[in-house]
């Protein structure tokens, strides 16, 4: 399985953020997007998630389920966690599991909460969680439904050192199982296998063939 971006041009408003970027990321690999603020990391991730239409170029997944769009084979965890404060922690996750069709997935809600150290908070309304705990709950969504591609935008924001290691383990085991991860980050995650894609800010040759 390969995620292939071909001559991708992305605009935000009237501004070209990413100009003719081509890259390939293979299964069993973590692609780290790095670069200064404004380099287009978030824009690129949102485009991969199908939330932003490229103004030129294409994104496709080789060897995935061909009839299904990349977005439907991907998990996206952006800056926001997608959590409802008045639902309990477990209810939030159970909703995403049901909505994203997580049936037949090895991890159930309790498993995923346990993995991210939230098991003792399961019955608490999510509104009472701290920022780091909310982040972990947002990330727990990765485990409740199976998607080959994970798109993570600044996944370590507000995580402490232990939780960051936890995330790295989860990402590593997904990659080891043949998954593909694209993560935008400023911080070293401590991952086992990574390839870096450096995006330059506002330079016309941003990215280029890797």
């Amino acid at each position: 399985m390969q995620l292939i971006a071909d001559n991708l041009t992305l605009m935000r408003g009237a501004r070209t953020v990413i100009d003719r970027l081509s890259f390939r990321a293979a299964a069993g690999d973590t692609l780290l997007l790095t670069g200064p603020n404004g380099a287009g990391k978030t824009t690129l991730i949102r485009a991969l998630a199908g939330l932003l239409r490229p103004s030129a170029g294409s994104i496709r997944l080789d060897g995935g389920a061909a009839a299904i769009e990349v977005a439907e084979q991907a998990h996206y965890v952006g800056h926001l966690n997608g959590i409802k404060p008045s639902l309990t922690v477990a209810e939030n996750l159970a909703f995403w599991r049901a909505y994203l069709d997580g049936s037949g997935n090895p991890h159930d809600v309790a498993d995923a909460l346990d993995r991210f150290g939230l098991a003792s908070l399961a019955e608490i309304p999510a509104g009472y969680l701290s920022a780091g705990q909310k982040r972990r709950l947002g990330l727990a969504r990765l485990l409740v439904a199976r998607r080959p591609v994970w798109l993570l935008d600044e996944p370590t924001v507000s995580l402490d050192a232990a939780s960051t290691r936890l995330l790295a383990e989860v990402v590593d085991s997904h990659v080891a199982a043949g998954g593909l991860v694209v993560a935008a980050t400023h911080l070293p995650l401590g991952l086992a296998r990574t390839t870096e894609l450096r995006l330059g800010a506002l330079s016309p040759q941003a990215g280029g063939e890797r």
Binding site: R12, L51, E72, L80, K84, S86, L87, W96, A98
Partner: protein, 222 residues
Amino acid sequence: MSGFWTLLRRDLVLAFREGGAVGTALGFYLIVVAMLPLGLGPDLKLLSRIAPGVLWIALLLAALLSLPRLFEADLEDGSLDVLAMGRMPLELVAAAKALAHWISTGIPLALLAPVLGILLNLELGAYPVLVATMLAGTPAISFLGSVGAALTLRTRRGGLLLALLVLPLYVPTLIFGISAISAATLGPGGFAASFLILSAISLAALVVGPLAAAAALRMQLP
């Protein structure tokens, strides 16, 4: 389809657990209708003549109050991105949310209306007709309203703009809702025709609303 019911159930749980939107709509409805006799004076004949119109217009305004939040909450906490990426088409997402709005706001308002009818000396025979027309007409309010809510999603203080966009679309529902009630209480016959047109408007809104709302949401996502 399981995603549709999951989302509908979540939105209903949120509506009843948070309670704010439903409570505000019901409270607004009560206050507007209760204030009217104070402004018009105790002329019972006049009040009972204008009662159906007042109850309908106040219901439209009350339902409008909670519409701006329809997609806004999901946009603010990032849920909308994930909802849009699911395997369920965005049209069904919009439909589930509009249906949840109808169940959590439209139905309670329609059921409150006969109680408020007492304040306006509504004719005795008009009560069942009033509830029937409101139950048949309110789906149009939620489903057409969802289009306006999606269009004004990123507009700051979009509530007023939403009212301007959406209220004209409610005119047919209002006209046929009122005419069904007056046909049932005053004239001989004619109720069935008005009631069927009212239902037809709601059914059309059920189809057109989600399509248009999903198109508007796609423009708003980036």
